[in-house]
Every structure is written in structure tokens, then in C-alpha cells.
Amino acid sequence: MSRSRLQEAAVHLVLWVAVLFALYPVMWVTTQALSGGGATEGRIIPWPATPSLDHFTAVIGRVTDEGVWLFGLQLLNSVVVSAATALTAIGIATPAAYALSRFRFVGAEGATRTLLATQMFPGVAASIPLYLLLDGAGLLDTRTGLVLVYATSAVPFAIFQLRGAFDAIPRELEEAAMVDGATRFVAFVRVVLPAVRPALAITALFAFMSAWNEFILAATFLTSEDLYTLPILLNRYASEHDSNFGHFAAGAIVVSVPVMLLFYALQRQLVSGLTAGGVKG
């Protein structure tokens, strides 16, 4: 009895240490963002010396000389590019994954292996060929170009995710629908897709998040400030010329909030998506 109480206390202690370990840097960033004036230094407990929202107003309210609300524009760029990446990934990967899961055709195995192989290269390794391709297509320094670049890594990953999800759906479900009067396409739309909805949600979210957080490729292919995504903006606050860690911290929080909200909204889907296929019935 006392032993189990002791064990429980120990478990909680370990968990608290882990939580603090994960949260401490976040608390520092929050402190920086909420501190007025210069950087907060030499304190163990992260707490703003002179609390203020100056950094937030400065980051969010930034306006160009021409009177363009730059932050709003860059936020919009991030949302558009990330959402378009997620839609492209889902749009291409869903039929591809279904075909790989359900049909046997020449090249199916090879295609799967090739997809796996593409995942082994870091995305940056492809930046030079991608640059040349985009240049040739006249898509350098465009949002469309960036979406295409993100899709090159998002689509294979999404195909993998969704193929696993389709594999977990019994064929008999579609067969039952086809006997009931559906074509294969109708069975796919009305029976299979609803059944993989959690997996679609989690796959779309991953694609969205990886695009949202990506910096190197965006910085490589975008040169106009009005096309920048938020990570490039953040980088500017932390760069050599013009480092302002208060702005950086405030920007980091602002950038994180939409993803946190998305996670929160899709929480239930995510949990069932992550465990889909693991439990029968």
C-alpha cells in the first residue's frame, strides 16, 4: 500500500521534472516577449521585470513605408501557403494511397519503395534542383512555387500515412457498398473516406504544420518581402544586423498560436487518427 503510494509520488515527480524541462524555454520566450525594454538576463525564474505588450504591438503592427500592413500580409502568406500545401498533399495523396492500398498493378511495389526513398533525403538536398526547376517554370519568388516545393515532401509522406489508413479499412466495407448498389467511386466517397476521416485530418495537419514552420526553403525561394512567410520574418528579428530578442519572442508566440489552436480543435481526431488501425473493431 505505502509502496504503491511511494511509487505514485515518484512517477509524479518524474513527470513534473519532464514538464518543467519542456516548458522552461517556452516560459523564457514568453518572459522575453512580455518584458518591456531590453533583454531580461541573469534570472532563474522567468518573469518579466517590467511587463508590457510593446513587443507584440511592434511585431503585429509593423507597417511599411508605403503604409502596407506587413505582418498581416505575411500571416496571410503563411496561411495560404500552408493551407494550399495541405490541400495539395491530401488531394494528390488520397487517390494515390487508395490505389496503392487496394489495387495490384505493375510498378506498385516500385512506386512505394521510391516514395520511401525520397523520405530519406533532407529537403534541403533538393534545393538547388528545385531552384532550377522553379526558375525554368517562372515560379521563383511566388507562393505557388513554394507550395509546389512543399508538396514534393508533403505528398510522399501523406501517401504513406493514408495508405496505412486505407489498409486498416476492411475491403468488405466497400464490397458491401458495391453489393448495396454503389459504384467503386461512390463506395470510396461515401464509405471509405468517412472511415479514414481521422487519418485525413492528421495528415492534413502535419502537411500544414511542416509548411507553416519551414524556413530554409522559403528563405531560398522567396525574395520579395511582401511574399515572406512568418518564419522568415522571425529570422529577421534574430539576425545579426537587427537582432531584437523581444520582437523575436513575441513573433514566435504569435506564430505558434494558430498551430496550437488547430491542434486543440482537431484533438479528438488526432488521438483516434494516431491509434487508428491499432485497435480492432
Binding site: 464490397e175 458491401a176 458495391m178 472511415a195
Partner: protein, 356 residues
């Protein structure tokens, strides 16, 4: 309702022949059970009828229509799957209505039919539940309801009871039989369970390695199997087989000496044969002479009956005894048994065919 006609159905999967020319006629309103060991092709045959597999050769007719090349949706049939295959994101009501909706049935008719089926199968309280919130037995009933509500001309059942526990299986078996009588529907039913096969079938089709081994009313197939395969497959415990010599109207083997009462049976071909005796076709011998001498090794006594397991000569043998007859027996005894008149089965040792 319609009849079903299969002619020369052939199917290979991965270069392996699964069906080797199956012919079968199912009359309107008949419940035909396809039975056989796993891998005999019974499920593939059912899926071919459903249109989920297309045959390499042969013709499938439902009523007068040749449906061989039609997709499942145009065949006007319903299927109950082993896993039930209920749509997980739809309620019971929506599951029942799915097929009707796809076919553009009016909302009023859909409500009327789902209510009727729900009432028939006692699904009323479940109509707004999702499949995940139901027990196996309830899901099974929904799967049957989904088939019935469509009023198809042919019902297909693919081992629909194998995921249920034994007690429930017996209940649902009776329910299916009752439904068949009530609907007068044409049904093709696949199972590997011989009890289901025996109790449900108007006619039984025993499949072996992609071919029809025997067709007939269940009791007829049981009583007069055409081969050792059918004899061994039907009946529990399985039929006992002994290698014996036939000569001058007697069958002799170590532990076996029995008169062949049927003069026609194999009478004119003396020589080695295979003898088949069912466990329940023996009774303890009255006198000192006995047809079969069984060395009892294990005794399973259940009060009203008992099974004595052991060997006759070198061959394993099981005898079913009435409860009273088993009382005096102990393990190690040599038990004298007489074979009931007319119940000796003779098979060709090489081909396994019944000798008539």
C-alpha cells in the same frame, strides 16, 4: 425472388486454380448451403456469384438474366459478410437505408421498409446507435436487416455466424431458418460448420478443391456419402475408417469381423476395401461374439451419453454409447461392439469413392 444457375465456373487466383468448373442450380426459394474445408473455394464461389470476383470461365445466371459480366450493384442481390461490414460512420437506421438511398427509393418507402425490418428483427431500440456501440449478435442482426430491407432476388451469406459465440450461434441459426421460411427467399449460404450446414440447408453442396463433390438434401448426403471425403467431413465425431478385406460376404481386419448385409455392396469385388462406421452406429455386443473389438483408452462420459475413444487393431476408433451402457466400462477394457444393420460404409481404398 429468383433462381440461380452456375455453369462451369472456373477461377484461378495467383495462378492457383480455385474453382475447377462448378455447376450448380438453386431453385427459387431454396436455401442451398455450400460447405467444405477451408481452401475448397466456397467463399470464392459465393464472391463470384456476388460479382466481387469475375470468373475465368463459366456463366452465372440469376433468374433468366446472364449476370456473369455485370457489376455487383446490377445483380439485385444482397450479401451478409462474415465481419458484417457495417458502415462504421452510419447509425443502424442509416446502415439499413444505405442501399435503398443509392437506388433512389423515396424517403417514405425507406422509412416504411426500415421500420418493417427493424420490427422483424427486433432492431427498434438500436436504430439510432452506431455499430461500435453494439454487441456482435446485434451487429449480425443489423447485417441481416440490411440485406432483407433491399428485398433482393437472391441472398448470399458468407459464414455469417462464425464470429458469434456458440450459444448465440445456435439462436441466430434458428432465426435465419425462420427468416428463410417467412420470406421464401432464395439463399446461398457458405459455411465450414457442418452443424449449420446440416440444420439450415434445403440442399447441401459439398465442395472439395474447387469442384462439387456431392449435392443433395443434408440427411441424404449424410446417410449416403459418395466418397470418403464427404463421409469424413459430415458428422461429429468424424466417421471411423478401418482398412479391411472383403471376402465371402464378410469384412475382416484385426479387431473387425462383420457381415456385409447389403448384398449389392461391393459383393462381387473381393479384396481390400476401406470400411467406414459412424460413432453412433455401434451398440455393445450382446453375446461373446462382436463385430468390432475396441480397446478403450479414453472415456468421455456425459451422463446421457458417452464417447469411448481407442483403437480397433491399429486404427483409431470412437464409439458413442448410451449413458447406461457406458457405466460399467473402464479405461483399458476391450469393448465388444455390434454394428447397426445397414450402416457399414465401404470405400475404394485408392480412389476413396463409395462402393455401391
Amino acid at each position: 425472388m429468383a433462381s440461380l444457375s452456375l455453369q462451369g465456373i472456373q477461377k484461378s487466383l495467383g495462378g492457383q486454380p480455385i474453382l475447377r468448373g462448378v455447376d450448380l442450380e438453386v431453385a427459387t426459394g431454396e436455401l442451398v448451403v455450400l460447405v467444405g474445408p477451408s481452401g475448397c473455394g466456397k467463399s470464392t464461389l459465393l464472391r463470384t456469384v456476388a460479382g466481387l470476383e469475375s470468373p475465368d470461365g463459366g456463366v452465372v445466371r440469376i433468374g433468366a438474366r446472364d449476370v456473369t459480366r455485370l457489376p455487383p450493384r446490377d445483380r439485385d442481390l444482397a450479401m451478409v459478410f462474415q465481419s458484417y461490414a457495417l458502415y462504421p460512420h452510419l447509425t443502424v437506421r442509416e446502415n439499413l437505408a444505405f442501399g435503398l438511398k443509392l437506388r433512389g427509393t423515396s424517403a417514405a418507402t425507406i422509412t416504411e421498409r426500415t421500420d418493417e425490418v427493424a420490427q422483424m428483427l427486433g432492431l427498434g431500440p438500436l436504430l439510432d446507435r452506431f455499430p461500435r456501440d453494439m454487441s456482435g449478435g446485434q451487429r449480425q442482426r443489423v447485417a441481416m436487416g440490411r440485406a432483407i430491407v433491399r428485398r433482393p432476388s437472391l441472398f448470399l451469406f458468407d459464414e455469417p455466424l462464425s464470429n458469434l459465440d456458440a450459444a448465440l450461434r445456435a439462436d441466430v441459426r434458428v432465426e435465419i431458418k425462420r427468416l428463410h421460411q417467412r420470406l421464401g427467399a432464395t439463399m446461398l449460404y457458405v459455411t465450414h460448420d457442418q452443424v449449420e450446414a446440416m440444420t439450415l440447408a434445403s440442399r447441401l453442396v459439398v465442395l472439395r478443391a474447387g469442384q462439387v463433390e456431392q449435392v443433395g438434401p443434408p440427411l441424404e448426403v449424410y446417410a449416403r456419402p459418395v466418397s470418403r471425403f464427404v463421409a469424413a467431413f459430415l458428422g461429429s465425431p468424424a466417421m471411423n475408417f478401418l482398412e479391411a478385406d472383403l471376402g465371402s460376404g464378410r469384412l475382416r481386419a484385426p479387431g473387425l469381423d462383420v457381415v456385409v448385409p447389403q448384398p449389392a455392396v461391393g459383393g462381387d469385388v473381393p479384396g481390400p476395401v476401406l470400411v467406414g462406421i459412424r460413432a453412433h452406429d455401434v451398440v455393445p455386443a450382446k453375446g461373446a461374439r462382436a463385430d468390432v473389438r475396441l480397446r478403450v483408452e479414453v472415456l468421455e462420459a456425459m451422463g446421457f451419453e458417452a464417447y469411448a475413444h481407442g483403437h480397433v487393431g491399429d486404427a483409431p476408433f470412437v464409439a458413442r454409447l448410451e449413458g447406461d451402457a457406458a457405466r460399467g466400462i473402464t479405461v483399458g477394457d476391450e469393448l465388444g461392439l455390434d454394428v447397426a444393420a445397414g450402416s457399414v460404409h465401404l470405400f475404394d481404398r485408392q480412389t476413396g469413392r463409395t462402393l455401391r
